[in-house]
Amino acid sequence: MALDNQKNREFKVVGTRPDRPDGLDKVTGRAKFGADAYATGMLHAAILRSPHAHAKILSINTQKAEALKGVKAVVTRKDFSTSVTGENWNVLENVMAGDTALYDGHAIAAIAATSSLIARDAIKLIEITYDIIPHVTDVDKAMENGAPIIRANAGDGSVPKGMHPNVVRYHESGHGDLEAGFSSADLVIEDTFKTEATHQGYIEPHACLAQLGGDGKGELWCCTQGHFQVQKVCAALLDIETSALRVTASEIGGGFGGKTAIFIEPVALALSRKTNRPVKLVMSRSEVFRATGPTSSTSMDIKIGMKKDGTITAGSGIFRLQGGAFPGAPMEFTAMCAFAPYNLQNVQQIGYDVLNNRPKQAAYRAPGSPMAAFAVESVIDELCNQLKLDPIEVRLKNASKEGTKASFGPKWDKIGLVECLESAKNHPHYSSPLLEGQGRGISSGFWFNHGGETAVSLALSEDGTAALSVGTPDIGGSRASMCQFAAEELGIPYEKIRTTIADTATLGYNEVSHGSRVTYATGLATIKAARDAVKKLCARAANKWEIDEDAVIWEDGCAKPSGPNAGSFEPMPLAEITKKMGKTGGPIVGHFEATPEGAGVSFATHIVDAEVDQETGKTKIIKYTVIQDAGKAIHPSYVEGQYQGGAAQGIGWALNEEYIYGDDGRLQNSGFLDYRIPVASDLPMIDTVIVEVPNPGHPYGVRGVGETSICPPLAAIANAVSNAAGVRLKELPMSPVRILEALENKA
């Protein structure tokens, strides 16, 4: 649906900062999260997980466990469907191991018992015979000759011949003549960069309450970013009909992409089916680290050529990503995002998806993009330093614009990169002085954004209020924005609208809340549903006034004659129409179902000042500014919050967070004590600038904002730290140990 052709429209609600609708619930504890569900007679589940990184499962003996008082059922892989294929098979293989344990933490069996304590004691009584086999947890080592094969024949046929079987997918894109491009450069820099896996670190562990009867009908309550997907996949894994399972999404304590995947719900459902009782399953924090979906780790080779005047003549990148023991590392997004901010005549990007003995990766905001930016923007920064060029001027000189060819092929539509860079150039932060020992870093970043299947329903009540039902869990404040959309279109106060996340039995299919799609797609659907309701309201007024429907307009929350020729009637407010709607034609409900196409891409520029302690290697972030294109900020406070959140997560990812595997292939730091995420005292106040270049594909110009904010930080911080320390850091995280090592090598 195209941008509204109302250039002079003055929004009354959109663009303001009303109170959030979920605030009181969350601060008083009234909000119901995944683990808050309770059912009479419910059992508690626990999962037995592999202590080995790679092992054949020779036998599973559950007799002692089943004999423990209070144990009601045990499930293993044989309690699930044997007919799933494709990605559903990968999900099932991850939910419950088949004949091989593929990573430390892989689920092997599960128990339901009358208390969680009994369940946890019972899983210790399950006897598993393992044949431990060699493992590999490093992306480069997994590609070498002789590396243990994780799964034979898992490749998709795209991989060049001769590569190790652990390489399962391949991407190549680009255009031009690389050799000619590099030859014409005055300076070519080529380097290798590595990043480790990190976790989204959501505060709420995965939790669910499942009830599935012998008749194949069930109810599931879970914290998820996509309950319709949970419904679809669980039905497949348990061989039941989709509509027989009703799934309700709880309030969610963070997702960031990590809750787009399915880990425990099929297990709880299988246990419930076996026991004919509700079953509750809550993951511990250690389980979340070991057995949900961290990001990929990466190894990247970048080569960029630049002339003395700052023109980039060529760029190439090879991106190796591991996504655990399953295909799906987002290497194609890493490859496509890497050079996206640059208008290059000669460019090539190659990506490899590599299997490892690690958990199945999941998205972390913009999957694959932050790592790409780290590598490419570090080399751009080094080129600028060596050629003594201003980093923002160089980015402006080579910036992607509307009509230029993207590094991955298509011509850009209307985009806001130049506006972000200009805003950064003119921001007081950029011209503020640096003290000794401090360094400044700049980075651009890019994300695609997404539309997806969407359905909403807007029901008007007799008292003139409205109930909006949406199918996209609220992971970033979308309920407030949806109320604003509806209020804007209906012309009634924001406070008169309540937005609810409806269950799977109430609406048509809704794709997962991911890809920064909700404000774009659910927002677009809300606008359309409200306009549908308005049409019906006008029809009721027209009927009462005995004039044509075309002669009625909607303005300021009232039906009005369109002009003097339509007749002389007093405006009819919404509440007056709805008060009698039962007698004038029935309930008035607006709805909209579609797969909107036209989600606008989003660019950002970050400016970071960092200080490095040369004795301890500790980094302090002194100042941070996020500048990002939102298209149209519906609720600016939420947009600013997304910008700050992405930056905060980027700070943790850049400086401290990493998955640490031992020589035995086991995760060494599966808790927040040893997996160090930033706390408030680690962060400065993060300043934000909202740039608005309207997206032509949305009625109000909205672009998704939740993901792009994590794309630049790794690079911006690496550039700041490298400039402060006087040495280029090429491996993340830039922990004190790594910085001290780099300083020592430099000396």
């Binding site: 194609e332 092929g409 298509p410 991911h514 920064s516 196409e597």
Partner: protein, 62 residues
């Protein structure tokens, strides 16, 4: 290359007929970019000989 198709759905069918090894890629999901506009799903979007068309892996996020 030359293909006959009236819309994005027919385009994918024709591509797989011409290049059978693309079947698994198409089945896994592709986004189709028509003159710079990303179509993540639509199989009924009209295509014309003057369009610039790219196939990308299905766009998804976090």
């Amino acid at each position: 290359m030359d293909l006959y198709a009236n819309n994005t759905g027919e385009l994918l069918i024709a591509l797989v007929e011409k290049f059978p090894s693309l079947k698994h890629v198409v089945d896994a999901g592709v986004s189709i970019v028509i003159d710079g506009k990303v179509m993540a799903y639509s199989l009924s979007e009209p295509v014309h000989s003057e369009n610039e068309i790219y196939l990308l892996q299905r766009i998804k996020g976090g």
